[in-house]
Symmetry: C2
């Protein structure tokens, strides 16, 4: 089964790193009716997705051509259009392919953590639950997973509103993590929790990008693709940051101790 196309309106400005889909033309790969190859083998559509995932993750949307993707996938360029209609359609499916699994996996990690830890939740636990399922796949997964997460990092660093709407798919996970941290730090102000998330997600993004800059600047002492070393350190580093900024709800960042003159004016209004 083939995808319907609607590219009549070809003049929507210039390409973005992540493009805005044509109105109402969200292409979706047809899985119904497509015969499955023998196990171990991969069919053309999957090879195209793998190739696209690889190239997009390294050069972004605009740095890749359909011809390149087809070449890497060992198929004809027209076939990529047959399956995914447009380049944007291909890009979308690449992102969607693993998104749901990642989301539910991370959500279930929170279910498990909260079920097993009851009232003994910690900041480290919240951060680890948010971050580890992701880092584990980026570490132990096949090259496709590594590419996918690098692509996610690219999108998360992209300032376009399309990239923003893609990333917002994962927003419930952020709220989930913040809710757990709040249980560990009942005095935390909502605002500070979100700032801490901002810093955390930045570290996470760069870690998933594995740029190699760390290797160079450290003279080979650390490697940016050494996720096994990153995991425990990132959890501890971020948890310490959360605790420092959020433990004392009456203290503003930079202050030595909890202020008393100003504290009364805004203390415990939200608990």
């Amino acid at each position: 089964m083939k995808i319907t196309r609607d590219n009549s309106n070809g003049k929507t400005g210039r390409p973005l790193t992540v493009r805005t889909p044509k109105a109402g033309a969200k292409p979706k790969r047809a899985t119904v009716g497509r015969p499955r190859k023998a196990v171990g083998s991969v069919d053309a559509a999957d090879r195209i997705l793998d190739a696209a995932e690889d190239l997009f993750s390294k050069r972004g949307f605009d740095g890749v051509t359909m011809r390149e993707v087809a070449l890497l996938a060992n198929v004809d360029a027209a076939l990529a259009h047959y399956y995914f209609a447009t380049k944007q359609g291909l890009f979308d499916v690449v992102l969607e392919r693993r998104a749901e699994l990642v989301f539910s996996e991370r959500m279930e990690a929170f279910d498990t953590y909260e079920a097993t830890h009851g009232n003994n939740v910690t900041v480290e636990g919240a951060v680890a639950t948010f971050v580890l399922p992701l880092l584990e796949r980026a570490r132990n997964g096949d090259v496709g997973w590594k590419n996918y997460f690098r692509l996610i990092a690219l999108v998360n660093n992209d300032a376009s509103h399309v990239a923003l709407s893609i990333m917002s798919y994962f927003d419930p996970l952020v709220h989930r993590m913040i809710a757990v941290v709040k249980r560990a730090l009942p005095n935390a102000r909502e605002e500070e929790l979100f700032w801490c998330f901002h810093f955390l997600t930045g570290s996470l993004t760069l870690a998933l990008s594995r740029t190699g800059r760390l290797d160079r600047v450290s003279g080979g002492l650390c490697r940016s693709d050494d996720l096994a070393s990153i995991e425990p350190r990132m959890v501890e580093y971020c948890a310490a940051g959360f605790r420092s900024l959020c433990a004392d709800g009456d203290r503003l960042p930079g202050e030595k101790t909890s202020g008393t003159s100003r504290a009364a004016s805004r203390s415990r209004t939200s608990r």
Copy 2:
């Protein structure tokens, strides 16, 4: 004066977000002999650079065309080639234009900090000295500066080896910061210091990208372009992370206290 071109070898693979310059053809804008306009006015070459800075920072190298740059700069497309020879040449000059100033400004911040604080250096001080000159310009500078830092963030998140070599220009600043942190935390292991830098630079990169994701996920409580709020928080957050990971040189990340059985095998070998 015009730039010499060498594009005879046009087949160097496909575009990257940051392209590799043709061998020995590093274009450089000619400043000698170009008449300066009246103060307040900006000449064509600068308008082209401003426009390129703007567009590149939002869409990356491949997402921008020379025609677009020229259009935004209100000049003819051929003029952009006249000044910068190639698109890659334009991109390079955009990055080079402010790099030296940023570098020396941040280096001088360390000179000042070390001169005024003698033996009383702190982790917060080191982080603040590394981060604040940058964030201050991103906050108070004109729109050109904001675009420049967003572009730097894009490059820092790019995994291509060209992007890596661009960023390595700032490596001495990293070593400078780490040296100061080491004075504040004499027990710190070199390795942990670099991991902390990795997390810090990730947060910094995302902060400079100002993607708006924080705005959305926080329901408007925090804004990713509110650098005034970011500054003190980022310093405190990162300093806490450094201290947690680096204060005890004999403890591995995740451990509760300094291990004694393993500690002897690697303690104080580097001091």
